[in-house]
Amino acid sequence: MKRGLKHDFSLIAIMLIPIGVGLNVVIAQLVQILRLPIWLDAIGTIVAGMIAGPWVGLVTGGATNLVKSIFTPTELPFAISSMAIGFTVGMLSKKGMFSNFGKTIGAGLIVTVIAVIISTPIIVWVYGGISGSSASAMTAVLLASGHRLVQAVITSMGLLELIDKTSSVIIAYLIVNKMSDRYLSKHNYAQSFIKSNKKSKAA
């Protein structure tokens, strides 16, 4: 199957973008209803990246923050971070990092690192360190106890993102593995999730 910027946007992959954005928004709300201490606001992006590749993941991430910014414009700068997450997951999927559970946890760690590297400068430059998320309280405490700004942001973001992004990646992995072979076979990057492929390799 041909891959790359031109081939990734097949019709069915394009259909996945609005669904991914919708999942990001709706799951984040569901998590709030359940009063869980995490965000899980990137599962749609991660699913899109996993089965439709880096470019579709990137567009899904960017579109999510554009749509969110219609109501909360403070989300707009984080579009870059969402795009990076989608792209990274797509690249990891291309490299076969989601072929088993152990590798998936490793992939979750890589996504966390990328998310922190991209989000920290945005929080520091655009919002002066406090972006109003749940990490801000921790940032403030670290600042008060004498840490430097960048250090405080990285520590608080890193801890929260580590829990949030690894669990997002694991949840997405579990769900994608439940999709039917027939559906997965229509996507460019879903080979490692197709069950009959896995069985034939084992045999």
């Binding site: 019709l11 109003g132 008060a144």
Partner: protein
């Protein structure tokens, strides 16, 4: 939509240029009073466009709470030497207050102009004008269908939640109980919505969505003389702002 309204009837890209000017102007003029003034300009335009209520609602909920938080935390924790007020280990410094004023004025100016733009411009119009400028109809589809899919998905997530509760999944209680409820809620939502992409793709294919021909639109909006007038005005204001900055 009433077409008579002086603000609402402008062409979408004209409104976009106006909002961009507002957003850029706070970086041209660094004074924080100017940033806060932009908010009142936005409020005035919202009033003319009769969207004051929604505009005020979203700015108060989304922007002011964040700005107050940033303001308080920054004035306490920004490093500085000129102490204005002190209580045990907490101290407000002049540098902190200055930094917080500058930062929040920019956030409020840029944020409120963005909120204003989407209140006076229906997304449909905005995407249409971008398509005229050469945006792919596929991108138009993605944006518009996203906006219709989200409310639909919210409904189906509610249905799934009720169904799972009926089957005995606990959604209240300790953290562990609520965590366990997460997967049974999310999995059906993701699987059903992802499976629906197949049908959508076929439906669109059957209507010639992927045909490589120029597509016509049944919906259209026209530019008027007022648009060109306002565009020229915006350019003049931009030049004046730059002159003001250089002269200062």
């Amino acid at each position: 939509m009433e077409k008579k309204n002086a603000v609402l009837s402008l062409y979408p890209t004209t409104k976009l240029l106006m909002i961009l000017l507002f957003a850029i102007s706070v970086f041209i003029i660094p004074n924080y009073l100017f940033g806060y003034a932009i908010f009142f300009v936005c409020l005035l335009i919202a009033a003319i466009g009769s969207v004051t209520k929604e505009f005020a609602n979203l700015t108060i909920k989304g922007l002011f709470s964040l700005s107050v938080l940033i303001f308080v935390l920054q004035s306490f924790f920004y490093p500085g030497t000129h102490v204005l007020w002190e209580w045990s280990f907490l101290a407000i410094t002049q540098e902190g207050v200055d930094f917080a004023l500058g930062l929040t004025s920019k956030i409020i100016a840029v944020g409120s102009s963005l909120i204003l733009f989407f209140r006076i411009t229906p997304v449909k119009d905005f995407v249409y004008s971008l398509e005229v400028l050469g945006l792919s109809p596929k991108a138009t589809y993605v944006v518009l269908s996203t906006l219709t899919i989200i409310p639909e998905m919210k409904k189906s997530s509610q249905i799934i939640m009720d169904a799972q509760k009926t089957r005995g999944v606990e959604t209240e209680g300790s953290l562990m109980v609520r965590l366990k409820a997460l997967l049974p809620m999310i999995t059906p939502l993701v699987l059903s919505s992802v499976a629906s992409t197949e049908e959508r793709a076929m439906a669109l294919e059957a209507r010639g969505f992927t045909v490589n021909k120029r597509k016509t639109s049944i919906y259209s909006i026209e530019k008027t003389g007022r648009d060109s007038f306002i565009r020229v005005m915006l350019l003049v204001i931009l030049i004046l702002l730059i002159v003001w900055r250089v002269a200062l």
